[in-house]
Amino acid sequence: MTMNQDETPELESRPQGRREWSGGLRSIVLPIGLVVAIVAALLYIQSGGGSSEDDGFGTVALPEALNPTSLTPNARDGRAAPDFVLRQLDGDPLRLSDLQGKPLIVNFWATWCASCRAEIPDLIQLYEDQESNGLVLIGVNLRENEAAVRSFVADFGITYPVLFDRDGDVAATWRIGGPNQGIPSTYFIDRRGVVRKVVFGTVTAKQAAEGLSLILPEGG
C-alpha cells in the first residue's frame, strides 16, 4: 500500500502491472532459460530422442601401410581411397582395402535412381568383359530396403558384388556428387588403392575406357 499524508491511501490494486528487479539470475537468466528449456524439451520429444547404433559397418581407418600416398585418404584423383567395411548381399562383410592389388571400380547406386538403372546393364557388361583382366567392380547400394535390392539384382542380373551402405556413412565420406542426390557416382581405383578417375553421373563409354586405361594392367 502507498499513502501520502492528506491523501486517500491506495492499495497495491494492480500488482500484475509491477515489475521488480530481483537480480540478474532471477530476473533474466532464469525466465529466458526456462523458456529455452521448454522449447528444447518439446523439440527433443518431437525428434524422438533416439541415438544411432554402431553396427561395425561403415568407414574405417585405412592402415598406414596400405596408403601409398603421403596424404589422408580422400575419394579424389591421386588420393588413397577411404577404406570401409560393408555387408554384402550374402551377408558377409567386405573390406575395401582387402581388394588392394586388383583394379577396382566402386559404383554408388540405388534402385530409385533412373540414371543408375540406365547404366547398370553397361556396368555388368563392362565387368564381364574385364573380369579376366582382374577387374573388380562393386556396387554400393545406398540406404535401401534389402528385399527391394535383392529383387532388382535378380531382375537386372547383376553379377558383381553388391554392398549395403545402410546409413549413408560411406557415401558421405566419399562425398558422392552424382546428379540424383549424389548418385550415380563411380570411382576408378588402381591396384595400389589410389583413386584415378571420378565420374559423377552416368558413365559414358568414353569415360569407362579412360578409367579402365588408368587402372588396368598394361595390355589389359
Partner: protein, 544 residues
C-alpha cells in the same frame, strides 16, 4: 574510486546502474521497447508480403536462386543486389527478422517472470488488514448500518469468498477474497504468447517439406538427400482415386510404406485429411494421377532386364475412332487408332483388318478448322489400293468393308527416351482395348507395339512387357515442430481467457464498529463492487 575521481561529488552512475544484465532487463521490461519491436515486426511482415519471396523449392539451389534473382532484377533494377544482401527476398528467414522475434519473445518472457513475485504475494500473502483511513476516505467506500460479522462471513462464504475476521475492542475487521488465483491468468496468457512466438520461430528454423510423385510398384523414392540424417524412402503399394459419374473426385487414398536405412518404419493409408505419421513427419496425399504404365524390357541374349520404368503419360494424343463392318453389317473393328507414325502432319499407324488380312495406314490430321479432323486411309503395299480422306461421321467403302470415322478421342501419351530397340525418342500411349488397357509403344524396328497387360512381345533382340497400369500418388512429406507449440499456445490462450472472464475475482475489506460498517473492494467496476456489498449486507441482515 569513481566517486573520488569526480571530486568527491556523489556519482550519478552507480555500479548497479551499469550492470549490463540490469540494463538489459530495463530494456526487456520496457513497454515502449516491446511496442517498438511489435511495430518493427509488423512492418517487416508487410514487406515480406509485398516483396516477392524466394520460393521454398528453390532454397539451397544456387543455380535456381540466381535465375530467380535475375528475374527480379527486371522489377527492382539496381536495388536487387542490396535487397538480396539485406534479406528482403527471404524476410521470414532473415537473421534480423528472427532476431527481432526472439527479442520480443525474451521481452514477453522476462516481463512476465518479473511480475511473478508481486502477484504471488498478492495471492498467497494478501493484505488482510487495511488502515482505517482507507475505509473512511473516498467515494469508493460503501457505508452501511452495522451488520453481524458472522452473518456477513457466512453470506460471503456462500458466494465463494474466503473470509477472515479479526476483532480489536468493539471493532471487527473483515477480509474476503474470491478466486485470488485467477490473477495467474495473466501468466497463462503470456505463456501462450511466448509459445506462439516460439512456435513461429521453430517453424521458420526447423520445418521441412518435400513433394514426391510416386507410382505404384516404383522403387521407394527418397524424401531427402542420401546424406541427410532424416533420409527416408517412401514406397506406394496402392494409389486409389474414386470419382463420381461426372468425374468429380470423391476420395484419394494411398497405401504407403516408409523405410529408413532399409528398414520398414511405418506402414499405413494416407489421405488428404488423415496423413500417415512417422518420426514427426506427416505423409499427406496431395495429388493423384491415374495414367501410368509400367514397361519392362528384357534382353533376349542375356535374359537380363535392361529397362524397367513406370511411364507417366502426362500428355495427351488425339486419336480417331473407327468402326469397320463387313458386308453383312457385322462389326469387325471398333477401336481408337493410336498413332505411332507421323506423316505430313498426320498421326496414324498400320492396321490389319481382322478377317481380311488387308493392311491399311489409318491416321488423322487437323482440318482447316481447328475443331474438325480428317481421317486419312490408304492401303499399304498396293499402289492401286484405297487412298481416301474423310471427315467425322462419314463412311468409306473399302471393297466389301465399310469404315466409319466416329470422331476423335484424347488418350494419355508421353515421349519415351532410352527405350531399348528405339533409336532416339519414341511414343507411348495408353488406350482402352476390348479386354483392358493397351499400351502402344513405338516405333520399335519401324513398328508400333501393342501390349496388353502381362503379355510379353518379342521384337528384335528384346522382349517387351507391359506389366500393367500404374496410378501415381502425390505425397507431401512435412515436418513442422512449431505446430505443437501453436496448439499448446492456443489451448493456454483459451484457458487464460476463460480464467479472466469466468472467474470474477474480488477482494473486500470491511470495518464494523459503533453501529456502522464501512466496506471497500477491488475487482470489477466500482458500481458492481458496491452493489455486491449491499446485497451481501442485506442478505446477512435478513438472516440475522
Amino acid at each position: 574510486m569513481a566517486e573520488a575521481s569526480l571530486g568527491g561529488r556523489p556519482s550519478r552512475l552507480r555500479w548497479p546502474d551499469i550492470d549490463p544484465l540490469r540494463l538489459l532487463w530495463r530494456g526487456l521490461v520496457s513497454v515502449r521497447f516491446a511496442l517498438g519491436l511489435i511495430g518493427f515486426l509488423a512492418l517487416a511482415s508487410f514487406a515480406g508480403v509485398v516483396i516477392p519471396q524466394l520460393p521454398v523449392e528453390m532454397r539451397g539451389n544456387p543455380a535456381a536462386e540466381a535465375a530467380w534473382l535475375e528475374f527480379q532484377r527486371g522489377r527492382f533494377g539496381f536495388l536487387t543486389n542490396p535487397m538480396d544482401s539485406l534479406g528482403f527476398f527471404q524476410v521470414f528467414r532473415s537473421l534480423w527478422f528472427i532476431s527481432a522475434l526472439a527479442l520480443l519473445a525474451a521481452s514477453v518472457c522476462v516481463c512476465t517472470a518479473n511480475r511473478l513475485p508481486p502477484i504471488w504475494r498478492n495471492v498467497f500473502r494478501p493484505q488482510t488488514r487495511v488502515p482505517d483511513e482507507y475505509l473512511s476516505h473516498g467515494e469508493a467506500t460503501t457505508a452501511l448500518p452495522a451488520t453481524d460479522s458472522q452473518a456477513l462471513a457466512r453470506e460471503l462464504a456462500r458466494r465463494h469468498y474466503r473470509v477472515s475476521t479479526s476483532v480489536e475492542g468493539d471493532t471487527t475487521y473483515l477480509f474476503a477474497d474470491r478466486y485470488p488465483w485467477a490473477q495467474f491468468a495473466t501468466f497463462v496468457s503470456h505463456l501462450a504468447l511466448i509459445l506462439f512466438l516460439a512456435g513461429g520461430f521453430v517453424t521458420v528454423i526447423t520445418s521441412r517439406e518435400q513433394q514426391l510423385f510416386i507410382a505404384e510398384g516404383e522403387p521407394a523414392l527418397p524424401v531427402f538427400a542420401v546424406d541427410d540424417p532424416d533420409h527416408m524412402q517412401v514406397y506406394v503399394e496402392d494409389a486409389v482415386g474414386r470419382f463420381d459419374k461426372t468425374g468429380f473426385p470423391l476420395d484419394f487414398r494411398t497405401s504407403l510404406v516408409v523405410y529408413r536405412n532399409g528398414e520398414e518404419v511405418a506402414r499405413g493409408v494416407s489421405t488428404v485429411s488423415d496423413p500417415l505419421r512417422f518420426g514427426g513427419y506427416t505423409f499427406h496425399q496431395s495429388a493423384y494421377f491415374p495414367d501410368g504404365a509400367q514397361l519392362k524390357v528384357r534382353n533376349l541374349a542375356t535374359g537380363r532386364v535392361v529397362y524397367d520404368e513406370v511411364l507417366a503419360l502426362t500428355s495427351s494424343a488425339a486419336t480417331p475412332r473407327v468402326v469397320v463392318r463387313d458386308a453383312s453389317g457385322a462389326v469387325v473393328l471398333d477401336d481408337a487408332i493410336v498413332p505411332t507414325d507421323f506423316i505430313a502432319g498426320a498421326g496414324g499407324t498400320i492396321v490389319t483388318l481382322p478377317g481380311s488380312g488387308r493392311e491399311f495406314w489409318i491416321g488423322a490430321r487437323p482440318g482447316g478448322d481447328a475443331a474438325s479432323w480428317q481421317l486419312i486411309v490408304f492401303e499399304t503395299g498396293s499402289t492401286q489400293g484405297t487412298r481416301e480422306v474423310i471427315g467425322p461421321g462419314q463412311t468409306l467403302d473399302l471393297g466389301g468393308l465399310a469404315l466409319s470415322f466416329s470422331g476423335m478421342k484424347e488418350i494419355p501419351s508421353t515421349v519415351v527416351k532410352g527405350l531399348p530397340g528405339i533409336d532416339g525418342d519414341g511414343v507411348a500411349e495408353m488406350s482402352q482395348g476390348p479386354s483392358g488397357q493397351v499400351l502402344t509403344v513405338g516405333p520399335v524396328a519401324g513398328q508400333a507395339l501393342s501390349l496388353s497387360p502381362g503379355d510379353a512381345v518379342v521384337l528384335g533382340d528384346y522382349e517387351y512387357t507391359f506389366t500393367g497400369r500404374r496410378e501415381f500418388a502425390g505425397i507431401t512429406v512435412r515436418r513442422d515442430p512449431g505446430s505443437m507449440f501453436i496448439w499448446l499456445a492456443t489451448g493456454l490462450f483459451l484457458l487464460g481467457l476463460a480464467l479472466t472472464f469466468y472467474t470474477p475475482r474480488r477482494r473486500l475489506w470491511g470495518k464494523i464498529a459503533s453501529g456502522q460498517a464501512a466496506f471497500r473492494g477491488l475487482g470489477g467496476r466500482q458500481l458492481a463492487v458496491e452493489r455486491e456489498i449491499r446485497e451481501v449486507a442485506a442478505k446477512a441482515s435478513a438472516a440475522e
